[in-house]
Symmetry: C2
Subunit: 229 residues, 2 copies
Amino acid sequence: MPFPKLNAAEATEASGARQKDENRPLTRIQREKQDIILEAALEVFSLHGFRGATIDQIAAQAGMSKPNLLYYFPRKEDIHRRLMSELLVTWLAPLREMDENGDPFPEIRSYIRRKLEMARDFPRESRLFANEMLQGAPRIREMIEVDLKALVDEKAKVLLTWMDQGKLARTDPYHLIFSIWATTQHYADFDVQVRAVLGPGRGGEGRFEDAARYLEQLFLFGLTPRPKS
Amino acid sequence: MPFPKLNAAEATEASGARQKDENRPLTRIQREKQDIILEAALEVFSLHGFRGATIDQIAAQAGMSKPNLLYYFPRKEDIHRRLMSELLVTWLAPLREMDENGDPFPEIRSYIRRKLEMARDFPRESRLFANEMLQGAPRIREMIEVDLKALVDEKAKVLLTWMDQGKLARTDPYHLIFSIWATTQHYADFDVQVRAVLGPGRGGEGRFEDAARYLEQLFLFGLTPRPKS
DNA sequence: CAAAATTTTGACCAGTTGGAAAAATGTTAG
DNA sequence: CTAACATTTTTCCAACTGGTCAAAATTTTG
């Protein structure tokens, strides 16, 4: 199971195998193999970054020959691009779900919870994303400058509304969102460090529950409105 | 200016140029060139990760030929190792300075401040570190399992003491430290994203001050002890 | 089933990679 | 000033890189 497929814009580009007729629907084999390749590529890219990953590695991971892989994705960049655009949609879904009409604390709390679950269940996706960011996001600049920005702008407004209503401590909504991203994704991206520091005793699977408890407390207390001094 | 040299264990390994006498002190040229190389390597490694960086790139960045560079650091890994061990010392200095005998809030606040300053002033170092973590820390596993863990264990105890004294909300000290790391380093590692989301208006240099204000509030409110309900 | 289309393979290639060897050039202590 | 050493350059190499191509094997379709 690669990822909770939202199947975003499945037909962006005829990036698949070369057929006689460009607009034929994908065959069964094409769909299967592409999924296998994407799954393998996720593994390799998330570990080594774009430049550090090789087609050979991905092909080996996918259990096929390099030319065979290149039959489905003619260039290395194509695989990466597909991975990134599918990722971005799913990655932002939790934020998208934050509901203006809900109460701030349940909404924020479940947002944190969901992000933390994603860090636990899809750490490779998180690392793939982090890798791209570290390198200056050369291949998804536009996406983050347009789509991501628009979404965050929208949700920042929601947060501001809540603050105006006195339901949430007045603070910077953008940095609030950043801090949720940072603290939750940390458990995927810096997993080795987290595990090493917690040690064999506390570094087991329970760490995510501990993290959830801690983060809930931090953000609940940290964002509760205070009477002016 | 590469980095506020703490000159940690300057003599770890005779990793420099090959001289007749292994234990001769470094010549002027050796010191200078090694610094130039390390500075160049920092730039390249932090951007592309270990595998993605090439010796040629580093040499070009350092303004010398590849074989010339290899004269000072016989293998690519040597450069990386040196960079990482020098980095780790400096990187952890702020945490080391957190003083048991100080008051919790000023101490934590100045820790956050310092980490944020490092994210602002030494983003490449932060990214180098993040890159290594993303890849599972294959080259510094021991350092984080031993030195880093020991330091965090020590500081966690300090935090627990403060909590016992009722000066700090009772919470998980390890995750508290993680959340400070995550939120501050985020501004270096995900800089592109932060800037893209804040837009041209608020994405300028002021973003670090906004971040500082926000994080101070979050952690101050979030960690103030509460009366039991 | 046979023809048409798709998928897989094996051989190949030009450019890049990390690194070795040795010759040529600088630098410095006596 | 010169011998001993340190540094730099030139040349080279084997392994790996992303990618091509035509032929063979397989699957789909009429």
